[in-house]
């Protein structure tokens, strides 16, 4: 393995302290930066994993049978160990960010080194972070969105390059923008669920179940769309891009991300106690800027788990209330779509109460779980988008991606879209194309990549 690109250094003019980049470097690392330490560790891991385009790099496209023979990068094990035991683990969200370079590479590798250690540690044979099993259940979907994002970046690169000379290829801009919005929606849900693990007094079971149920399905839609775009732009089944896509499909079952695994979370979705009815009464202004949604920021001490349920339950009605606020077209459209989904949320309450004790195998109950998951996804999208408006320059605070993600959730629910919505796909495409050109990941944090 050769490193064809040097590891990044601190921003010019900044004091350089080995292992501890200055804050400026952390900001350059992502629009929603982690701590400087976490950014440095992630970059180091990315460097240790090597150039993904290097055909001789053993960490890329590794033979499934040879995974156990690959050396684990130095420092990776410490990511799972709490600081008191000499490690770096501070939160599930930060762990997911630290492992993202690994997750981007390969789903099987991410499962082997990023998820399985938690399950082993939870058996008592290792030093486990709190709630290791729940954490593992959320990291697997995080790995799925990360590796799928890699194929999205490849497809964007192909379409962006060819589209400059072939106008017909530009027809796929909208499709790739939709993929980007779907992945951002999935990552919003995963990130919020990871943050909810840090709330005191237990997790929000419906939220974590929604991740396990909805994310693999949305990603399946994304994979199907990517397959179409790749095929139509000359990247046939033998191309590296199409093979990477096929590899994800092959790895789903070993990673516990197939439909069988999703049905377990589907049953949990209906029975989970943190229904909107279980949440405390809605307080005006409880959702916008709620700590649960402030991605990249510490959750804060003592936030009760009920606060998570309350914040999620409030996200849709709060966003719907924005319909009375003047703003740019995409923001108004977002509020109108949120109002549609809020109506859907209201219609779900009584059936959900009834279904809590019903046979989870009943198709009507299973359909209910599907709808609940999509509404939780929409709530997470609206929550993180609203909270990110407080971060200057953060794309996550823009309304266009959220509008596109919500429009697709609305379509999946079978709810008619409000008439006359502005189409945000051109704007979303412009952002995803810009990111790919500048080595920025397609994640919620807008993380700069090494390779």
């Amino acid at each position: 393995m050769t490193l064809t690109r040097p590891a990044p250094v601190a921003a010019p003019g900044s004091p350089s302290v080995p292992g501890r980049p200055p804050r400026a470097a952390s900001r350059a690392y992502a629009e929603l930066p982690p701590t400087a330490d976490a950014a440095a560790r992630a970059l180091r891991l990315d460097a240790l994993l090597g150039d993904p385009d290097d055909a001789d790099n053993p960490y890329c496209r590794a033979d499934r049978g040879a995974l156990d023979d690959l050396p684990v990068p130095d420092g990776l094990r410490e990511e799972f160990v709490p600081p008191a035991a000499g490690g770096h683990f501070t939160s599930g969200e930060e762990l997911a960010r630290a492992l993202r370079p690994l997750f981007r590479r390969d789903l099987a590798l991410g499962q082997a080194w990023g998820v399985r250690p938690l399950l082993v540690a939870d058996d008592g044979s290792g030093c486990a972070p709190p709630r290791a099993v729940e954490l593992a259940a959320l990291l697997a979907p995080a790995a799925l969105t990360a590796v799928t994002g890699g194929v999205l970046r490849e497809a964007v690169r192909v379409v962006d390059a060819r589209g400059r000379h072939e106008p017909a290829v530009r027809q796929w801009h909208g499709t790739l923008a939709e993929c980007f919005a779907d992945l951002l929606a999935c990552e919003s849900l995963v990130a919020v669920a990871l943050r909810s693990l840090d709330a005191s007094g237990g997790t929000a079971p419906a939220l974590t179940a929604a991740v396990g149920y909805a994310v693999p399905q949305l990603v399946a839609d994304v994979r199907s769309a990517l397959d179409l775009v790749l095929h139509e732009t000359g990247c046939g089944p033998a191309s590296p891009q199409a093979r990477a896509l096929a590899r994800i499909a092959d790895d789903l079952t070993p990673a516990g991300l197939d439909w069988v695994a999703a049905t377990v979370d589907q049953a949990r979705l209906v029975r989970a106690r943190d229904t909107p009815e279980d949440a405390p009464p809605l307080r005006a202004g409880s959702a916008p800027g709620h700590p649960l949604f402030r991605l990249g920021r510490p959750l804060g001490e003592g936030l009760p788990a009920s606060g998570c349920a309350e914040a999620l339950a409030a996200a849709l009605p709060e966003a719907a209330a924005g319909i009375h606020v003047a703003g740019p077209p995409a923001q108004v459209a977002l509020a109108r779509t949120a109002r549609r989904l809020n109506t859907e949320l209201r219609t779900l309450r009584i059936p959900l109460l009834r279904a809590a004790h019903a046979d989870p195998a009943d198709p009507a109950v299973r359909a209910l779980a599907d709808r609940r998951a999509l509404l939780l996804l929409a709530a997470a999208v609206l929550g993180v988008r609203e909270a990110a408006t407080a971060v200057p320059g953060a794309y996550l605070g823009a309304p266009d991606w959220a509008l596109l993600a919500l429009a697709r959730a609305t379509q999946r629910l079978g709810v008619p879209l409000p008439p006359g919505l502005t189409d945000p796909r051109d704007d979303v495409w412009a952002v995803v194309a810009h990111r790919v050109r500048h080595h920025v990941d397609v994640d919620v944090y807008a993380t700069r990549m090494l390779w």
């Binding site: 049905t263 219609t347 009507a364 359909a367 209910l368 709808r371």
Partner: protein
């Protein structure tokens, strides 16, 4: 129902049974279920006229249409509305028959790409729908994605106009030397095969047909050629003597933990539509005794 009711197999893998004719909501559905239980996809064909009376008299039509009712109401012509309603009924009743649940307990959804789905059932049961003129064709599979397409045999097709859109260069050259009548039939066959395939993929007409190559294997069966993936079965039948129907099926192992209902379990047949004079129309229980969507539930809209 009659397996041989106007069905002539043009080309089919042995795994494919002939399409089954179901004349109305009361089936019989046993053969449909038997095909699914044997691990094969099942095709059901009918005409909307055969189901129309049942649809119009069905007090639960509103529930059966579910969230598609608005689309039904906005379909401009009466014939279009009837065809729309019946096609959804056939799809829902067929899926309900193989799952042995009431049709109203199923929520018919669509992916953002337009592919029909049974909400909440994921990969356990895949459905596909095609209709043309008065024919409705439904494909249901518990063993991987399925796509169906149907066209009237009498549909005029211009080889000159469609060649570059439908055929690969090799397919075009092979068709060009055929007599006109045979060429038109082969072209129609290619069209239905390719549309069935792209529907099974969830891509529909967004995928260029001219990049999909079909050929024959050593046993003379239709197969994908070139670098398209394997594990696909294809079949083409003439249905009701007037329509060319094709089906594409991607073989996949049945999702573990998601078995079809136990054949030994108490049977349930979709209830025939009933009018006010029949007091039994509420008799069909919800599966597992669970409450189905009530009138106030979204599924009832």
């Amino acid at each position: 129902m009659n397996r041989d009711d106007g069905v002539q197999t043009v080309d089919a893998a042995p795994e494919f049974p002939a399409p089954l004719h179901v004349a109305g909501p009361d089936g019989p559905w046993e053969p449909v279920r038997e095909v699914l239980e044997s691990g094969r996809p099942v095709l059901v064909h009918t005409t909307w006229g055969e189901w129309l009376t049942a649809a119009l008299l069905d007090p639960e039509l509103r529930l059966v249409l579910g969230r598609e009712r608005q689309r039904y109401l906005h379909t401009p012509t009466p014939a279009g509305r009837f065809r729309f309603a019946v096609s959804r009924m056939v799809m829902r009743y067929t899926a309900a028959a193989v799952l042995q649940v009431p049709p109203r307990s199923l929520d018919l959804a669509h992916s953002p790409g337009g592919r029909p789905r049974l909400r909440g059932l994921g990969e356990e049961l895949d459905v596909s729908l095609a209709h043309t003129d008065d024919l409705i064709l439904v494909g249901v599979s518990a063993t991987g994605p399925v796509g169906v397409d149907v066209e009237p045999l009498s549909r005029p097709v211009s080889f000159e106009l469609l060649r570059d859109h439908v055929c690969t260069p090799e397919e075009g050259e092979a068709l060009a030397v055929l007599p006109e009548a045979e060429r038109a039939l082969r072209l129609l066959n290619l069209w239905t095969l390719k549309e069935a395939y792209t529907k099974a993929l969830g891509h529909g007409l967004r995928r260029r047909f001219a990049t999909i190559a079909f050929g024959r294997d050593e046993r003379g069966r239709t197969v994908l050629t070139g670098d398209e993936p394997g594990d696909w079965d294809f079949a083409t039948h003439v249905v009701q003597g007037r329509y060319l129907a094709s089906v594409a099926h991607h073989r996949a192992p049945r999702a573990a933990g998601a078995p079809l209902p136990d054949p030994g379990a108490p049977d349930w047949h979709p209830a025939p539509p009933t009018g006010p004079g029949n007091p039994d129309h509420h008799a069909a229980p919800s599966a597992g005794g669970a409450p189905g969507p009530g009138p106030e539930s979204p599924g009832a809209r």
